[in-house]
Symmetry: C2
Subunit: 361 residues, 2 copies
């Protein structure tokens, strides 16, 4: 009996140590439509990169094909397409769909929200993904954070905005909750698709617009029709992009493909950040050389917008208990992060900013 037991033990040990050359690498093919034009090598480039990296990590066995807007479905139908199972996954941002549920915008960014590192910490370690899983589930999808642009710019203005009063009547192309905040201060918030932006600004149909940041904005040529480039884009401090996945497709994956997909999305988030951090300073330098005037919104303007944003969150929360609950958790986390960053990170950033300014002179 004892001997048999020992033998059984050895056999089990031998099985564990056996070579595993035929580990299952099932061939899987997915389609990934996205919301971002192929002309944006930052955003669409990251979508392509996820597909390429999943292929590389599975020795070509798990292939995902990326598609641009309109190829498989329209740009802003991606979440619906994933939810209905028309496609297995899609690359998009949750806040495009805030009309369905305002809590979706917490997953991307809220005005005066967290920095990219703070948001990453909240999502991955602070319980953010667990809190948001419910919100996605209602839309028939699950999501992995898979991109972030970092802080965007405050947009292109044909005239200077010096006081809160200057916002009154301003025709500003700005979408989502940022637009809703500014409407409280008299801004006429407009929604205009990307391709129509340049002519609208050139002809004065709008007074101002916001797009992304120096690198993406420069391609659209806004510097030729507006002189003032404002910072910061307080409505998009660190907008996050998701890989949305149809739950049944995800569950059908072997565990190691699930692990690889998660890793490819983490790579994507931080690759996009690195691309923007690499390309934006160069583009900013070119824009300034072409005569673009940089401006920073005054503290009065920021404070008025901050208060209007808090009012907006209270309004949404008053009729939406889940938004109220998730927003409260998010905001508590955010304030603790800000207090810590203020001590250890911002003191260095500000000192080094001063030194760089002195070197520049």
């Amino acid at each position: 009996m004892e001997r048999r037991h020992l033998l059984a033990g050895s056999a089990a040990a031998a099985a564990l140590a056996a070579p595993n050359l035929a580990s299952a690498q099932p061939r899987i093919r997915w389609r990934m439509p996205g919301s971002f034009p192929k002309s944006l090598d930052t955003l669409y480039g990251t979508q392509e990169r996820i597909c390429r990296r999943v292929g590389e990590m599975t020795d070509g066995a798990f292939q995902i094909l990326p598609f641009g807007p309109g190829e498989v479905m329209p740009a802003l139908s991606v979440m619906d397409g994933v939810g209905s199972g028309t496609v297995e996954c899609g690359y998009t941002s949750a806040y495009y769909y805030l009309g369905k549920d305002p809590a979706l915008s917490i997953a991307t960014c809220l005005p005066f929200g967290m920095s990219s590192r703070q948001l990453w910490s909240w999502l991955q370690e602070g319980g953010g993904r667990a809190l948001l899983a419910d919100v996605y589930r209602d839309q028939g999808v699950m999501a992995i954070p898979a991109g972030n642009t970092g802080a965007q710019m405050g947009g292109w203005f044909r005239r200077e905005i010096n006081t809160v009063g200057d916002l009154n009547g301003l025709k500003f192309r700005i979408a989502g909750h940022g637009g809703a905040v500014l409407q409280k201060l008299g801004v006429v918030a407009q929604q205009i698709p990307g391709p129509d932006l340049y002519p609208a600004l050139e002809r004065g149909v709008i007074d101002a617009l916001e797009w992304v940041g120096p690198y993406d904005d420069e391609k659209l040529g806004f510097q030729r029709v507006a002189r003032f480039y404002y910072a910061p884009g307080w409505w998009e401090y660190s907008p996050s992009i998701d890989l949305m996945i149809h739950p049944a497709a995800y569950e059908a994956l072997p565990n190691h493909y699930k692990a690889i997909l998660e890793a490819a999305c983490t790579e994507a988030w931080h690759w996009m950040m690195a691309r923007y951090d690499h390309l934006n300073p160069q583009a900013l330098r070119r824009l300034v050389a072409q005569g673009t005037q940089l401006r920073v919104f005054s503290r009065d303007i920021l404070s008025a917008c901050y208060r209007a944003a808090q009012d907006l969150y209270a309004e949404i929360g008053s009729s939406n208990a889940r938004f109220r609950r998730i927003h409260a958790e998010w905001d508590k986390y955010r304030v603790e992060e800000v207090q810590w960053f203020r001590l250890a990170e911002d003191t260095q950033a500000n000192f080094l900013g001063l030194m760089a300014q002195q070197q520049q002179r």
Copy 2:
């Protein structure tokens, strides 16, 4: 001819679509000694995580075993052990070995260096890894960035440091280039191993010490023997941790294992950051509740240290052309990043810092 051509085309297409259930997943076992005590769930925890994730992504076929300091080799012999091929890889920081080559410290961090996001951008997109590859090669290793603590604290002081003159004669436990900078201002820089730090500070053998940040520091209990906790740790704005790999071991990996190893290291870098960003604010709150007094080095002190750091880099560069060349590239990149962050990121961080301060009152 046309028909044969068509048939050939179909055959090629069929081959591409053929199931590939027996894709090669060779069993590989590596050892990974590290430089960080197992008591640090942040640093050692990340080392473990890389091993776990590589296993998960290869369905258990590529197994890496983590070891703490002294188990396979001493904490500060890891680079040598990897270089000689005693082990396949190791988890350590390049600046521990700056005595062999001062350029190794550029790979980890230099005093008044880049923020974590700036360093990540430089390493991955700004050519940093290519520039440093030579430096690692001289030590017989290659390296993948695989962790970062974010901004560390300036350390624990038994008395306040108000002027540059207060640094004179200060017995401060601080290693590496940070210590070399402070020595120029009269500090008596000391090297004391981790376990001896608490008694040294308690007995007044030293006046001050720096370790990591709130979460790791709290465990060692420094708050009980020093009252003043300074920020920022300008000598460690974003220290990077490497997975160092023996080149022949790396080259023997199939390409998809190489891709998985790279992805696991990217995950590790950002997981460590998220862990610290999640845990540090909570620990800071506890420390303050126990009576720790927070202080920020004055601008005069920071300026004097900044100038001393520039002098140090000029001295090292005068006798080391490669250090001079890489440092010049690094510094040019850094200044451009700082100027961009100052506009888009820091304006938001500072405004939100102010709002958080007002909310706190």
